[in-house]
């Protein structure tokens, strides 16, 4: 159990600073969290049909364990996609609240585990958002963007320009492009400024919207052809802003009578756009505004709190999830909509293949049921996968029906397809029990196939194991299979490292047998870089701990870790770490940087690399005065002879001085003889 095992984010065995009580409670909760295994017969009970062809289902990811003192609606909320963390800034600067109370910025994992909590000491924040690297961007009213790490560590800040500073920020959005993460800002002068990549900040001031007197009723960023645009709605008009111009646009097939747009939503991939009008009418189309996909009239005139797209990659179904205070509606190309009741304040997070919905008590996932699952589980389905699953169940019951079903599939020659369906469906299941029974069916079907390549099955088993591990309550990254594939294992490992879950990351690497240099060593190096920042541990202990863990793991650069230690101001530790660095070529430059030139010199000499010695020599020559420099040389015969060789060709006078300093009369004599012979030749 979790109580006994060392905490996952604690590779060094450091005790976490929480009392036994909290731990026990968490433990009990996590035990209670396991919902009972779904009964087979009501498996499709949470499936809701939308139109004729699609089903949508909503299932619980976690029951949230955060002790929110306030309602979500009182907070600025930002949740990162791909099962990322949730940031809450309580008590933002609302006019009715007293400004004297400093707000608290809290960061939780997707399962509600607290990651960080800090008192907000800077200016008023307008908007929060997560970058692609899972850094929290906090846009202040004065246009300064503060960047925090996942654990609430301040990273850096940048400003969005003077114009923004003067006119204050009205509204801001963080968006993701293929370059990284961007920030778009609406200023008090109703102008837009945006930067498509905060990593490489280039501010772009968008052209003015003619006749714009008040803030647009809604706006969003679009990303087309690798360029970021802004779409805004003013009254009944829509404007598209790009770098050069502002153009009015009209969505094709928009129902008449619209006097204002209340909400707009762009899909995860920037391909689709949905508009909500004041008549309760929803227009859905492509983001280029060239084509209408469908429309829906919900007859609710109240402005929705949130509207997000809920679609799966490569699916034909389009649906938008609209949330009001107490109502959640899934609308698509169908006359009816799916309606859910919201018991509490909820917040929607668009994902690649669905929508995450979290509230004070739960965290749910709403998505379109994937084809493979639909085929297998749909009531009275005769798809090969469904038959195979049934056959396997009968087989376990030792019933002869198993044979009947199997023959049926085989007669149609669909066994391969059946196995593939079961494997695929297993990937989309959230419950391990369900995954298991599907995989069992696949493996059962595989027995009757001659040449079924096993790698898809094996890989799915591995992937599911990894996914189940990261979906665990303690880790709290509720990735779906498609998200995981999109994210890639490398990025997932990076995210685990970012959450300081080093042991889990290493276990995954070892389990997936990733090459050491990419996998384990990289993670260990990250761990070491984190370890050197622990200021409360003595230099010796840190160095020893790091060396014990890392040993001679290939691909680990001790000099990188030492550089990090030096960056934290721990020079002594850096020197200790450098001792472990086998490549002198890496040691010496850092030692020089740390102004340990003499140590660098002896290291260079030990390495036997004369180029390195020379580098240090020239450095020393500039750093020390001549006398000290010569004295240093005197103690290092190798460096001395090297320098003499150099002087012989380049600086004869220095050579003489060197001999003089050493009282080397013999050489001095030879020097003069040589000089006289050389002079004769002229």
């Amino acid at each position: 159990m979790a109580v006994v095992a060392p905490s996952p984010r604690d590779p060094g065995g450091r005790k976490r600073k929480c009392g036994p009580g909290t731990r026990l409670r968490r433990c009990l909760l996590s035990a209670a969290q396991q919902p009972p295994a779904p009964a087979m017969d009501c498996y499709t009970a949470n499936w809701n049909p939308l139109g004729d062809s699609a089903f949508y289902r909503k299932y619980e990811l976690y029951s949230m364990d955060w002790d929110l003192k306030e309602e979500l609606r009182d907070c600025l909320v930002a949740a990162a996609p791909y099962g990322g963390p949730i940031a809450l800034l309580r008590n933002p600067w609302r006019k009715e609240k007293p400004a004297s109370v400093r707000p608290v910025l809290e960061i939780y994992s997707a399962s509600g585990m607290p990651l960080a909590s800090l008192l907000w000491k800077s200016g008023p924040v307008v908007s929060l958002g997560w970058s692609a690297e899972e850094e929290l961007l906090c846009v202040q009213e004065d246009g300064v963007v503060l960047v925090y790490g996942l654990h609430g560590d301040f990273r850096r800040h940048f400003s969005m320009g003077n114009e923004v500073l003067q006119n204050r920020v009205l509204d801001a959005r963080i968006f993701h492009t293929e370059f990284g993460s961007g920030v778009a800002i609406l200023t008090g002068a109703h102008r837009f400024t945006l930067s498509a990549n905060v990593g490489d900040l280039k501010l772009r001031r968008m052209p003015e919207v003619p006749g714009l007197q008040s803030a647009p009723s809604c706006w969003t960023t679009l990303c087309q052809d690798r360029v970021a645009h802004i779409l805004l709605a003013v009254g009944p008009d829509l404007y598209l802003l790009d770098h050069a111009a502002c153009s009015a646009v009209t969505p094709p097939g928009l129902a008449p009578g619209v006097s204002s747009f209340l909400q707009m939503a762009v899909s995860f991939t920037y391909r689709h756009l949905a508009l909500f009008t004041d008549t309760g009418y929803i227009w859905m189309g492509t983001a280029s505004l060239k084509e209408k996909l469908c429309e829906f009239n919900c007859n609710i005139r109240a402005p929705p709190k949130q509207m997000v797209w809920c679609s799966r990659p490569r699916s034909k179904e389009r649906a938008v999830v609209v949330a009001w205070e107490r109502r959640l509606m899934v609308v698509g190309d169908a006359p009816e909509s799916i309606q859910f009741v919201l018991d509490e304040d909820s917040y929607l997070v668009p994902e690649l293949d669905g929508v995450r919905i979290f509230s004070r008590s739960t965290h749910e996932f709403l998505h379109e049921v994937p084809v493979a699952s639909e085929e297998i589980f749909k009531i009275a389905s005769m798809a090969p996968g469904a038959l195979l699953l049934e056959a396997q169940k009968e087989y376990e019951k030792e019933s002869q029906k198993a044979d009947e079903y199997l023959r049926e599939i085989q007669e149609l020659g669909q066994l391969t397809q059946a196995v593939q369906q079961c494997i695929e469906a297993a990937g989309h299941e959230h419950q391990p029990d369900m995954q298991k029974s599907l995989l069992r069916a696949a493996s059962f079907g595989k027995c009757f196939l001659d040449r079924f390549p096993p790698d898809s099955f094996v890989r799915m088993c591995q992937d599911l194991r990894v996914l189940n591990a990261v979906r665990d309550y303690h880790i709290g990254i509720p990735l779906t299979y498609s998200q995981y594939k999109q994210l890639t294992i490398q990025v997932l490992l990076d995210r685990l490292v970012l959450r300081r879950l080093y042991p889990l990351a290493i276990q995954i690497c070892e389990y997936l047998r990733l090459p050491e240099v990419q996998g384990v060593s990289r993670i260990l190096a990250h761990w070491a870089c984190y370890k050197v920042q622990q200021k409360d541990v003595s230099d010796e202990d840190v160095a020893r701990a790091i060396n014990q863990k890392l040993g001679d793991t290939p691909g680990v650069s001790y000099s990188d870790i030492a550089a990090r230690a030096y960056g934290c101001g721990r020079t002594e530790l850096a020197i200790k770490l450098l001792e472990y660095e086998p490549r002198s070529g890496e040691q010496v430059p850092l030692l020089l940087k740390m102004k340990r030139s003499k140590l660098a010199l002896s290291k260079a000499i030990e390495s036997g690399d004369t180029d390195l010695v020379f580098t240090v020599l020239l450095h020393l020559k500039n750093e020390l005065n001549r006398g000290d420099f010569f004295m240093t040389l005197r103690n290092q015969p190798m460096a001395l002879s090297l320098y003499r060789q150099f002087c012989k060709h380049q600086e004869l006078e220095t050579l003489k001085d060197l001999y003089n300093q050493d009282d080397n009369h013999q050489e001095l004599g030879s020097f003069h003889i040589r000089a006289s012979y050389a002079a004769e030749e002229v």
């Binding site: 036997g608 004369t610 103690n635 190798m638 380049q650 030879s670």
Partner: protein, 617 residues
């Protein structure tokens, strides 16, 4: 007559791969500068380059004209200049002058400097100081191993000897380590490793480090060469200083073999042209006589000539068909053999003529007396006479050095008198040479015992850290005692002669010096290989002043085949002589080993001493 290898002798690895590798790399570097370009080649690199890529290959890759790097302004008109140089400061200044001259003339050209075998930081520094670092592009041509023969690899770095053993400059050690690394990646790891000497130890350590950094790839390779033996030249100067009497060594001493080929002058070719001849195993006649004592060579050659004659004579009784066969198949080979035979006979004659003029017998006798350590006074007076007759400055110096080393340094009286006579005879400019020789430990004065230790203790007081040991070592090497006499006794280097030593059927390696002396270096290698370690040789190691510098390493390598375990790579750091090569080839034949030689350069007594000399010839 030439001893065949034992039938179970292992096959040598194919070293032509190294040539191909070097050629491809050079071509790649040349292609980096597309278009027509003029190539400036350093004189020292010309012969090695010739063995790798001839002019037509260079032309194929758009090399227009070839120039020699010398201290003259270049007249090249090409828009692109490529320099192929050793990493020497002198060369950098040459290039800098050229580039700066162009700059003054307002001319812009493309310059590329290719350093071989590697680039040194000091060179780049000079380029920077001269203000042309941005104008030239630098590259490395990692050409460090030239296969001169099937069993001989040379790094062609004659300056290694002076740089390391005289100036104490260690920059070439890295190059050696790189070369060893290359060998082990190409021919598998070496399961057994031995070495003696400071440089050997450092090279070995550096090489190991390189292997560690890059392990993983080399793992699992079957070793092709079972042993590697690293050896510093300063461990055995005696052998290198002796006159060579094996044919190949003698040719080297007389005509100077340069990069595996020799220029035979008109007196050898018996025509008015001189001829450049490649001397290696492909020359069938040479291959049979190269390792022979010179006294046997004449007899062998005349026998060979007679055989050739009978071969020619066979055609007398042939019918047309046989004749056709003979002409088409054998004649060419016979003609070739004929040509080589006459060449080597010519060389022998020329050598004989020169040696008789120099009173060679007397010289050899003196050398043997020195080696055996009797009649020292007589030898000393012979040397004095040698100096006074002004036979040759290098030869005289050689004898003095030999005397000094075998006698553990000259007694001060002798030292002073010999030095004075030498300087008076050959000129005072040799004064600096004497100081160099003393520094290298080649020609020393017997010091009253306490002075050295005084210096040592002074130094150790000065320095407290790890380097202290190194410094005292360095100092002791300055005035190193050679202990030759004791070593000689210990290792039985002077064979007991009962009756005449039969040079035709040699018994031991001493034949390379007419049976008077077993080369010390070769004896050490023999002993270590016999024991598979330095165990039991502690006394010898101590006498060689290498107490901490002898090492052996063994990896448990089950994969090494018995065949590979009989292949031994001997690395001579600072050069080796042909006599040593012959001696080890002989040892190999006796014991069923095959030796492969890797040397920084092939050397002989003259080259050794010229390297120490401050007087430009």
């Amino acid at each position: 007559m030439a001893f065949p290898h034992r039938p179970d002798a292992p096959e040598l690895p194919d070293f032509s791969m190294l040539k191909r590798l070097a050629r491809d790399q050079l071509i790649y570097l040349l292609e980096q500068l597309p278009g027509k370009k003029d190539l400036f080649i350093e004189a020292d690199l010309m012969s090695p380059l010739d063995r790798i890529a001839n002019v037509s290959i260079l032309k194929q890759h758009e090399v227009d004209k070839l120039y020699k790097v010398e201290n003259k302004p270049a007249v090249s008109s090409s828009e692109q200049l490529c320099f192929l140089v050793r990493p020497r400061i002198k060369n950098m200044r040459y290039i800098a002058n050229l580039v700066n001259a162009d700059k003054l003339a307002g001319r812009t050209r493309k310059y590329k400097v290719i350093f071989s075998p590697q680039k040194f930081y000091a060179c780049e520094m000079v380029l920077e100081e001269e203000g042309i670092y941005g104008d030239v592009s630098c590259d490395e041509w990692a050409f460090s191993l030239l296969p001169l023969d099937v069993d001989l690899l040379s790094m062609e770095l004659p300056e290694f000897f002076r740089d390391y053993f005289l100036e104490g400059d260690q920059r070439w050690i890295n190059t050696v380590a790189q070369a060893l690394h290359l060998l082990s990646t190409l021919y598998g790891p070496f399961p057994n490793c031995y070495g003696i000497g400071r440089c050997a130890k450092m090279s070995h350590e550096l090489w190991r480090k390189l292997e560690e950094e890059e392990d993983g790839e080399a793992k699992g390779r079957r070793p092709e060469i079972g042993h590697i033996f690293l050896l510093d030249r300063d461990m055995d100067f005696v052998t290198a200083l002796c006159s060579q009497v094996v044919y190949e060594g003698l040719v080297d001493d007389t005509f100077r073999i340069k990069c595996g080929s020799v220029d035979f002058g008109p007196e050898v070719t018996s025509s008015d042209k001189s001829l450049k001849v490649l001397l290696n195993a492909e020359d069938k006649v040479f291959n049979e006589i190269r390792n022979e004592h010179f006294s046997n060579v004449f007899g062998f050659l005349s026998q060979k000539a007679r055989n050739l004659q009978t071969q020619y004579d066979r055609r007398r009784g042939m019918d047309i068909k046989q004749m056709k066969n003979f002409v088409s198949q054998e004649l060419k080979g016979l003609k070739q053999e004929h040509r080589l035979l006459s060449l080597h006979i010519g060389a022998c004659e020329s050598i004989m003529k020169k040696k008789t003029k120099q009173d060679f017998q007397e010289l050899i006798k003196t050398e043997h007396a020195l080696l055996e350590g009797f009649n020292i006074r007589e030898s000393t007076s012979y040397i004095e006479e040698h100096i006074d007759r002004q036979v040759s400055p290098i030869e005289s110096l050689r004898l003095m050095c030999l005397l000094s080393i075998t006698e553990n340094g000259l007694i001060p009286k002798d030292y002073r008198s010999l030095k004075t006579q030498y300087l008076q005879s050959y000129g005072p400019e040799h004064l600096l040479t004497f100081s160099n020789l003393r520094r290298a430990g080649l020609l020393t004065e017997q010091a009253p015992g306490d002075t050295l230790t005084a210096v040592e203790s002074k130094v150790s007081k000065l320095v407290t850290d790890k380097a202290a040991g190194k410094i005292t070592d360095a100092f002791s090497s300055l005035a190193k005692r050679s202990n030759f006499r004791a070593i000689s006794k210990k290792l039985n280097l002077i064979p007991r002669v009962d009756g005449e030593y039969d040079l035709k059927v040699p018994r031991d390696m001493a034949y390379v010096f007419s049976g008077a002396y077993v080369p010390l270096s070769c004896r050490v290698i023999e002993q270590v290989l016999e024991r598979r370690s330095w165990q039991g040789l502690d006394e010898v190691v101590r006498l060689l002043n290498c107490s901490e510098l002898a090492f052996s390493g063994m990896t448990k390598e089950e994969k090494a085949s018995s065949e590979s375990l009989r292949l031994i790579l001997v690395v001579f750091l600072g050069g080796c002589t042909f006599s040593e090569i012959s001696a080890l080839r002989f040892l190999g034949r006796e014991k069923g080993y095959r030796f492969i030689f890797l040397t920084t350069a092939v050397t002989n007594s003259a080259r050794l001493l010229e390297a120490m000399s401050e007087v430009k010839a």
